[in-house]
C-alpha cells in the first residue's frame, strides 16, 4: 500500500480531516506492516479522544454547577452561611419576597411558611419562620432544597442562617419551627422588585449518613 502527496492545500479542509494529515501525506511507499502500525497509531489517538469525552461527560457535572453559580440561571442560592457585616441598607427601594413551600412526592410532612411574604430594603436583615410537622408514625429525616424565581435573583440572596443548611430530623408526631435569616444584596439590579423563594422538602431518611441517625437518637 502506498501513499502519494496530497495535492489539496490544508486550508481547504474542514478541521475534522486535519488530525491525521501527517500520516496521509507520507511520501515513501509503505509496507503493509508499516500501514498496520500506522492504523494502530491512529486508532490509539481516537481511543484517547473517547476516554477524554467520557471524562468530559463527568466533568460536565461540576462545570454545570460552576456555570450556574456564576450566572445564577438555575435559581440555586448559595448553600453556605453569609456573614452580615458592614452592609449598607438601600432605603430608596423596597423588595417584596414571597415564600412558598412544597413537599416532594411521597414526603408526608406538613410544611408551611409562617410568613407568606416580607417587604424589606436591600441590605436589611429579614427573619422568617417555617412550620413543619411529622404526622407519620415513624422518624423521618428531611432536607429542604431552595429555589428562587426569577433565577438571577438567587445571586443576591445572602442567608446568614437557614434550616436548609443541614438535615432536619423529626420524630413521629413531632413538630417544629424552622428559622431562616437573610438579607438581599444592595447590588440587586433595579428591575427586580420582588421574587419568590420556594423550599421543597425531601425525605432523605433512606440515604442519609448513619451518623446523623445516631445523633438524632441521642437528641
Amino acid at each position: 500500500m502506498s501513499e502519494q502527496p496530497e495535492s489539496k492545500s490544508t486550508a481547504e479542509k474542514p478541521n475534522v480531516a486535519l488530525e491525521n494529515e501527517r500520516t496521509a501525506h507520507a511520501e515513501i511507499p509503505k509496507t503493509r506492516a508499516q500501514m498496520a502500525s500506522e492504523n494502530a497509531k491512529t486508532a490509539k489517538k481516537l481511543v484517547f479522544v473517547v476516554i477524554g469525552m467520557l471524562g468530559f461527560s463527568f466533568a460536565l457535572v461540576p462545570l454545570y454547577d460552576v456555570f450556574c453559580d456564576l450566572t445564577g440561571i438555575n435559581g440555586k442560592p448559595s448553600n453556605e452561611a453569609a456573614v452580615y457585616e458592614s452592609v449598607v441598607i438601600d432605603e430608596s427601594r423596597t423588595i417584596k419576597v414571597e415564600f412558598i413551600t412544597r413537599t416532594h412526592s411521597g414526603m408526608a410532612w406538613e410544611f408551611s411558611a409562617q410568613t407568606a411574604e416580607i417587604r424589606l430594603h436591600p441590605g436589611e436583615m429579614g427573619e422568617v419562620e417555617f412550620y413543619v410537622r411529622n404526622p407519620t408514625e415513624h422518624d423521618i429525616i428531611a432536607q429542604a432544597i431552595p429555589s428562587i424565581s426569577p433565577g438571577i435573583a438567587a445571586l443576591y440572596v445572602n442567608k446568614t442562617e437557614c434550616f436548609c443548611f443541614k438535615h432536619q430530623p423529626l420524630k413521629a408526631g413531632e413538630e417544629a419551627i424552622m428559622p431562616m435569616k437573610f438579607y438581599v444584596d444592595p447590588q440587586l439590579p433595579k428591575e427586580f422588585t420582588f421574587f419568590t423563594l420556594q423550599y421543597t422538602l425531601y425525605d432523605i431518611s433512606a440515604t442519609v449518613q448513619p451518623a446523623v441517625v445516631v445523633a438524632m437518637d441521642n437528641s
Partner: protein, 536 residues
C-alpha cells in the same frame, strides 16, 4: 491478500486466520469469525433489518392501542415500555447499524482500500451488538417490565420511578455505545489511512465524507451517552445524587447532558443519508453532483453546529430568555447548510437526463419528505411556538419525517442502489416499485395527520386520548399498519435477491453510475483492491 497481512501485523500476532487467504470458509463459522468488510457489512444490514421489524412490531402495538380512544389492548405501563423500546431499537438497533453496515460494505470499495483498517475490531464491534439487544429485549419479560421512561430516559423517571430492569437498560446502552465507538474508530482510521494513491480528500465520494464526519461525531458524543447512563445507574442503585435535588443534584442537568449527546446523535442518523442521496441523484440525473465542495463544507458545518444547539429540546425547562434566544438562532442557523444540500440536489437534477429507477424514486421522496421534516423542525425552533408544540404529536410527526422518510428512506435507497453490485443480480423491480409506492403513500397517511393532532394539543407518549382526536388517530393507525405491511414486500425482495434470483447486471449496473465501486465486477468479489487502484 492484504487484509491478512494487515491482520497478522496488527491485531493477530499468532496469525491463526491465515487460511482466509485461500478460500472463503463455509457455513456458520464463516460468519462468526469473518473479518471481511463485505461479510460484516451484510451482518450489520441483516441485523438492522431484523431490529427494524421488531421495533416496527412494537410500533404496531402502539398504533393498535391508539386506533380508538380508551384503553383496550395493552395496559398503560406496557404501552410505555413499547414507546421506550421502540425508540431505542429504531435508533440504536435499526438506523445506526444499517448505516454502519453500508459503511462497511461501501467505504473500502469507494476509496480503493482492500478492507477496513481494523478488521478484527470490526468483527467484535458487530458481534457485541446482538447481546446488547438481547439484554434490552429480555428486560421486557422481567417482573416489573422493561424500561418505560421513554428512549430519552429523563431523570427522575429513570432514577426514581423505574424498575430494576433499568440496570439492564444501562448495560445494553453501554454495549451499544462501545459497538458504535469501535465502528466509528474503524471508519475514521480506514478513511484517513487506507485511501488508494491519488484518492485525495476532495476526491472522496460524499458518502465517504459524510461518514467520516459522522464517525467523528460518534467518537465525540457516544462517551457522553455512556456517562449519562452511568450516572443514572449510580443514582438509582448506588446512592449518588447527580440528578437528585435532595442530595444537591439537579434533574435539569440530566437533560443538558443527555441532549449534549442527543442532538449530535440526530445528525449521526442523517449525515450518512445525505451522502447516499448525493451518490444516487447524480447517477440518475447523468450529471456531476452540483457543488461538491459546498456539500463537504455544509456537512462539516452541520456537524460543528450540532454541538451548540442541544438546549432547543429543553425550551420549557425554564431557561433564561438570553439562553433560549441563543439556542433558537443557532438552531435556525443549521437550516442554512441543510438548505445548501437540498439546493445542490435539486440543482443536480436541473436539466439532467433524469430516469426514475427505484433508488432514484426513494431519493426524490427523501428530498421532498425530509424537507417537510426539516421545516417542522424550524417551527419547533421558534421559542414561543415550541411552548405549544413541546411534547405533542407535532414533535412525533417532525422526528418521524426526518428519521423514517429521511434516514430510513435513504437506507432503502442505498440498498436498492447497491444491492445489484452486492449480489450481481438485478432485484425484482416490480416488487421494488410496489414497495416504494405502498411505503410512500402509507408513510404519509401515517405521519402527516400527526401534525394536525399535535397542533390541536394531543400529547405524545400516552395510551389514551381525548375524543376529538379519534378520527385522525384512526387514519394514523391505518397508515401505520399499511406501512408495516409494506416492509414485508421489502423483506420478500431482499430474500429473493440474496438467493441470487434475477437478471445478471453489468459491472457498472446503472448507466450513469460513477465511482470505484462500479469498476469492480458484479457481484463484488470477496476481496477487492488487494492492489490499490490508481486514481487519476
Amino acid at each position: 491478500m492484504s487484509t491478512e497481512t494487515l491482520n497478522d501485523a496488527h491485531d493477530s500476532p499468532d496469525g491463526h486466520d491465515a487460511h482466509h487467504e485461500h478460500h472463503i470458509p463455509k457455513g456458520i463459522l464463516r460468519w462468526l469469525f469473518t473479518t471481511n468488510h463485505k461479510d460484516i457489512g451484510t451482518l450489520y444490514l441483516w441485523f438492522a433489518f431484523i431490529m427494524f421489524l421488531i421495533g416496527g412490531a412494537m410500533a404496531m402495538v402502539i398504533r393498535a392501542e391508539l386506533f380508538q380512544p380508551g384503553l383496550q389492548i395493552v395496559d398503560p405501563h406496557f404501552f410505555n415500555q413499547m414507546t421506550t423500546v421502540h425508540g431505542l431499537i429504531m435508533v440504536f438497533g435499526a438506523v445506526m447499524p444499517a448505516f454502519t453496515g453500508l459503511a462497511n460494505w461501501m467505504i473500502p470499495m469507494m476509496i480503493g482500500a482492500p478492507d477496513m483498517a481494523l478488521p478484527r475490531m470490526n468483527n467484535w464491534s458487530f458481534y457485541i451488538l446482538p447481546f446488547a439487544f438481547i439484554i434490552l429485549l429480555s428486560s421486557l419479560f422481567m417482573d416489573g417490565g422493561g424500561p418505560a421512561f421513554g428512549w430519552t430516559f429523563y431523570a427522575p423517571l429513570s432514577t426514581q420511578y423505574s424498575g430494576d430492569s433499568t440496570a439492564l437498560f444501562v448495560f445494553s446502552v453501554h454495549i451499544m455505545g462501545i459497538s458504535s465507538i469501535m465502528g466509528a474508530i474503524n471508519v475514521v482510521v480506514t478513511i484517513l489511512n487506507m485511501r488508494a494513491p491519488g484518492m485525495t480528500y476532495m476526491k472522496m465520494p460524499l458518502f465517504v465524507w459524510t461518514w467520516l464526519i459522522t464517525a467523528f461525531l460518534l467518537i465525540a458524543v457516544m462517551p457522553v451517552l455512556a456517562g449519562a447512563v452511568t450516572m443514572v445507574l449510580t443514582d438509582k442503585f448506588f446512592g449518588t445524587s447527580f440528578f437528585d435535588a435532595a442530595g444537591g443534584g439537579d434533574p435539569v442537568m440530566f437533560q443538558h447532558i443527555f441532549w449534549f449527546f442527543g442532538h449530535p446523535e440526530v445528525y449521526i442518523m442523517i449525515l450518512p443519508a445525505f451522502g447516499i442521496i448525493s451518490a444516487i441523484v447524480p447517477t440518475f440525473s447523468r450529471k456531476r453532483l452540483f457543488g461538491y465542495a459546498s456539500m463537504v463544507y455544509a456537512t462539516a458545518s452541520i456537524a460543528l453546529l450540532s454541538f451548540i444547539v442541544w438546549a432547543h429540546h429543553m425550551f420549557t425547562t425554564g431557561m433564561p430568555v438570553a439562553a433560549e434566544m441563543f439556542f433558537m438562532f443557532a438552531t435556525m442557523l443549521i437550516s442554512v447548510p441543510t438548505g445548501v444540500k437540498v439546493f445542490n440536489w435539486v440543482a443536480t437534477m436541473w436539466r439532467g437526463s433524469l430516469t426514475f429507477e427505484v433508488p432514484m424514486m426513494f431519493a426524490i421522496a427523501f428530498i421532498v419528505l425530509f424537507t417537510i421534516g426539516g421545516l417542522s423542525g424550524l417551527m419547533l425552533a421558534i421559542i414561543p411556538a415550541d411552548f405549544q408544540y413541546h411534547d405533542t404529536y407535532f414533535v412525533v410527526a417532525h422526528f418521524h419525517y426526518v428519521l423514517v422518510t429521511g434516514a430510513l428512506f435513504s437506507i432503502m435507497a442505498a440498498v436498492y442502489y447497491w444491492l445489484p453490485k452486492w449480489t450481481g443480480k438485478m432485484f425484482d423491480i416490480t416488487l421494488a416499485k410496489w414497495h416504494f409506492w405502498c411505503s410512500l403513500i402509507s408513510v404519509n397517511v401515517l405521519f402527516f395527520p400527526m401534525h394536525f393532532v399535535g397542533l390541536a394539543g394531543m400529547p405524545r407518549r400516552i395510551p389514551d386520548y381525548a375524543l376529538q382526536f379519534a378520527d385522525f388517530n384512526k387514519w394514523i393507525s391505518i397508515g401505520g399498519f399499511a406501512f408495516g405491511l409494506s416492509q414485508l414486500i421489502f423483506l420478500a425482495l431482499i430474500i429473493k435477491a440474496c438467493r441470487k434470483i434475477g437478471e445478471p447486471v453489468s459491472d457498472q449496473v446503472w448507466e450513469g453510475a460513477e465511482g470505484l465501486e462500479w469498476e469492480i465486477p458484479s457481484p463484488a468479489p470477496y476481496h477487492t483492491f488487494s492492489t490499490p487502484p490508481l486514481i487519476k
